[in-house]
């Protein structure tokens, strides 16, 4: 029997996985992948809630938006990564310390 909590557990696992990836991985592309995981977790939450609580289409619209925004965000993020690589010849996150000062 698939219940709301099953969805929520899955999404929590996804969310935590995304956070762990963001914190632990030093590769910028991996961090972007982590972000995607977090976004997917939230999109899953929307769909799950709308299926079990609202039973209308509002919750289905939001994942579509999230997918679009995530695509745009990934494009921008990858563009930054490429630009960063051109300058630093590295995609290691610890090289990006210019926010320090």
């Amino acid at each position: 029997m698939i219940t709301l909590s099953s969805y929520l557990v899955i999404s929590t696992i996804l969310f935590l996985a995304g956070i762990v990836v963001m914190i632990a991985r030093k590769n910028i592309v991996a961090i972007l992948l982590g972000i995607e995981l977090i976004l997917n977790a939230s999109a899953l939450n929307f769909v799950a809630y709308t299926k079990f609580v609202n039973q209308n289409l509002d919750g289905h619209i939001f994942p579509l938006f999230i997918i679009i925004v995530a695509a745009a965000e990934a494009a921008v993020g990858l563009a930054i990564v490429i630009r960063f690589y051109q300058i630093r010849e590295s995609i290691h996150i610890d090289d990006a310390t210019q926010l320090q000062s």
């Binding site: 914190i23 990006a96 926010l99 320090q100």
Partner: protein
């Protein structure tokens, strides 16, 4: 004349400006300085004449007065000090006397002081002095009088010490200043007492004369006591102590004879005619206070003792100026005696007549002294035993001095007789009426009158009659020629030693009436401020300054002469009777004094040295001035004050310096050390050093936080969000 503070002020300010200009601008004392002084005083004289004319010939009523004030300073509602002018008939007469005498004496000074090295300095102080005296006369309150009083004290000090190369002159100036200061301290205390009482009675403190009269009329002094004595007695006594000091009354008379160290014109102005009269003038002003304090008998005794004691000392003096000095004290004693026995009018009249003839006597003495030049010591001669026969050399001075001597001795037709006789008459009247203790002043007064006639004529005979005692000195003396600044002042003053100017009759009695007019203006215009007459002050509003004259302008009825002085017919008859007895007595006494002097010093029938031998104890006491100087210097000062001073010095140096000052020093040292430690340890290390430490700490924290590591920021965001969620 419109009387406001501004319009009367020039009387005081003209001589004051002369003083200021001479002292601070015309620094090289030249003839210019002298001219300025004389002109300024002439200006004051003209002003005084205008006021005198207004009051005396305008014949204002006796109770007319002008009182205008301005606020000197204002320290809130309960303490506001007003200064102002108070002009009544007394002031008007006094103003003319002071400025007139001062002007003539200034003129004479241009002769007497001409070859003095400090010619200009003398005039500086003379101007200041005249200004202060005029200020005292027009002043409306006791504090104003006190201020001018002290300025005069200072001028007196400076002028006595004019010849400061002489040690005696310096000592005399200090003595005069310190002795009068004793009286002044009491005067100030009296002012404080009066201020306090007025503030209590009317709610606003004041020492203006009208306010004092008002409080007296309201009974504000009743039932107030100070250490068990009535406050009014204490206040009156304290203020009268000022008179005792300034007018050289017993027991503070010691300074005046020494004051003769100053130049003779200054003696004439300050120590004979005006300044010493200021004390008597003050007593006249506060007469209601003296009366309310029941001090009149005391005052009469002080005056009588002074008059008698000084007259006896004058008997043995050989210095020309010393005789005059003692006669001044004696005559001042008469005035105080007059105040004491209630002869208010007569005492004031004697003040005026005495000022005129005493100024003239001193100027004549100056004229004599100045022309007697000792070629061995290059000094002026003042000793009477070296004079004699001078009437041939100086006829004009002789004339002036003779008239004045006749006046002071109380010979009829001269001013001294008119005024002194009225004082003695009133003293006799009081003695006959009230008897008892009041016989003392009357008897002493008559005896002193005899002595006065004797010693004054002794002086005249020794100086101007007989053969020259010092032939060389006599031969060197030039024959006097009439000069405007030597003889004219003398002759003008001499003119005013005649009695009819003051009394309206030749003798002051009804015996020989002045043929044309009978205007006893003194008695008409000046009224004793008795208790019964103070009622008019009772509802008086406090006079406030305003540029508009808001005084009631209805003209007062002119005063008229009442031969009975408001007494009943029977009583007036009695008074006149007693006065006739007094007049006849004093004529007899005066002529017998003159006769005795004639027998002793001209006819040679009686030998003075026989009397000296016979009464050698008395003679010695008199020569030592009743040992008053010895008593004050050896007794009071050396035994008392000096011991006290030594004790205080010992306390000061031994105890106060050692323990208080040195102890304070130790305490301070400790305090310095402690505060130094505190500064080093606490302020510098903790305060000054602590600031950077804290900043540094914050720096480390902030620097650590801003690592620039994106993942760290992310952790922070997560932690914050999570903690936020959990805190909800």
């Amino acid at each position: 004349m419109d009387y406001t503070v501004g319009s009367v002020a020039p009387i005081v300010l003209l001589p004051f400006f002369a003083f200021a200009i001479n002292a601070f601008i015309v620094k090289r004392f030249t003839k210019t300085a002298v001219g300025i002084s004389c002109l300024a005083i002439f200006g004051s004289l003209l002003y005084s004449l205008a006021i005198f004319k207004d009051f005396v010939f305008g014949q204002y009523a006796t109770n007319y007065y002008i009182h205008k004030v301005f606020t000197w300073f204002d320290l809130g509602p309960s303490f506001k000090l007003n200064m102002g002018i108070y002009i009544d008939n007394l002031t008007a007469v006094m103003l003319l006397m002071v400025s007139g005498c001062a002007f003539l004496i200034h003129i004479f000074s241009t002769y007497y002081m001409a070859d003095d090295i400090r010619f200009g300095r003398f005039f500086v102080y003379m101007s200041l002095f005249t200004s202060a005296m005029l200020g005292l006369v027009v002043s409306d309150n006791l504090l104003g009088m006190f201020i001018f009083w002290e300025i005069m004290g200072f001028c007196s000090y400076s002028l006595i010490g004019h010849y400061y190369e002489k040690e005696e002159a310096g000592a005399a100036s200090i003595k005069a200043f310190m002795t009068t200061r004793v009286g002044d301290v009491f005067f100030l205390l009296g002012i404080v007492m009066v201020w306090h009482t007025v503030a209590r009675a009317t709610g606003e403190g004041s020492v203006a004369l009208v306010d004092i009269y008002k409080v007296l009329a309201m009974g504000g002094f009743d039932n107030l006591t100070l250490w068990g004595f009535p406050l009014v007695t204490c206040a009156a006594l304290a203020i009268f102590m000022g008179t005792i000091g300034k007018s050289a009354q017993f027991p503070l008379q010691v300074w005046l004879p020494d004051a003769m160290m100053g130049p003779t014109p200054c003696s004439a102005l300050i120590h004979a005619a005006t300044m010493v009269a200021a004390g008597v003038f003050l007593s006249l002003r506060i007469y209601p206070l003296l009366e309310a304090g029941n001090l009149t008998t005391f005052v009469a005794y002080i005056g009588a003792i002074t008059a008698f004691g000084a007259a006896t000392i004058a008997l043995v003096q050989t210095d020309l100026k010393a005789v005059l000095a003692y006669s001044t004290i004696s005559q001042l004693g008469y005035m105080v005696l007059g105040i004491g026995v209630g002869a208010y009018n007569a005492a004031f009249m004697h003040l005026i007549t005495h000022a005129v003839f005493k100024a003239c006597l001193f100027l004549s003495a100056g004229s004599v002294i100045h022309s007697l030049h000792d070629h061995h010591t290059h000094a002026h001669v003042q000793e009477m035993p070296r004079m004699g026969g001078l009437r041939k050399k100086m006829p004009l001075t002789f004339l002036a001095m003779m008239c004045c001597t006749l006046a002071i001795s109380g010979i009829p037709f001269f001013s001294g007789f008119v005024s002194k006789d009225r004082i003695l008459g009133d003293a006799l009247l009081r003695a006959l009426d009230d008897g008892g203790a009041l016989w003392g002043p009357a008897v002493l007064g008559f005896v002193a009158a005899f002595l006065t006639a004797f010693y004054m004529f002794r002086m005249m005979f020794l100086t101007f009659f007989g053969n020259p005692k010092d032939q060389e000195l006599y031969d060197h003396t030039h024959v006097e020629k009439l000069s405007w600044n030597r003889n004219v002042p003398l002759l003008v003053l001499t003119l005013f030693t005649l009695g009819f100017w003051y009394s309206g009759s030749f003798t002051g009695q009804k015996l020989v009436k002045f043929p044309v007019i009978k205007k006893e203006w003194f008695q008409t215009l000046i009224e004793k401020p008795e208790k019964s007459k103070l009622g008019r002050f009772k509802d008086l509003k406090r006079q406030e300054w305003s540029s508009v004259d808001n005084r009631d302008k209805t003209p007062l009825p002119k005063s008229s002469y009442d031969p009975n002085h408001g007494l009943s017919e029977e009583r007036a008859h009695h008074v006149h009777h007693v006065h006739h007895i007094g007049a006849i007595l004093s004529i007899i006494i005066a002529f017998s004094g003159v006769g005795l002097a004639y027998l002793m010093y001209v006819a040679g029938k009686l030998n003075p040295s026989w009397w000296v031998n016979k009464l050698s104890g008395w003679y010695k006491a008199l020569q030592n001035k009743y040992y008053f100087d010895d008593f004050y210097i050896k007794g009071v000062i050396q035994k008392g004050l000096l011991k006290l001073n030594n004790l205080l010095a010992a306390f000061d140096m031994g105890i106060f310096d050692r323990f208080a000052i040195d102890g304070w020093k130790t305490i301070n040292e400790w305090a310095f050390r402690l505060s130094g430690k505190f500064d080093d340890e606490v302020i510098d290390k903790a305060g000054v050093g602590g600031g950077p430490l804290v900043v540094k700490g914050f720096n480390v924290i902030l620097r650590t936080l801003q690592s620039g590591k994106v993942q760290f920021y992310f952790i922070v965001i997560i932690v914050v969000l999570v903690s936020y969620i959990f805190s909800i």
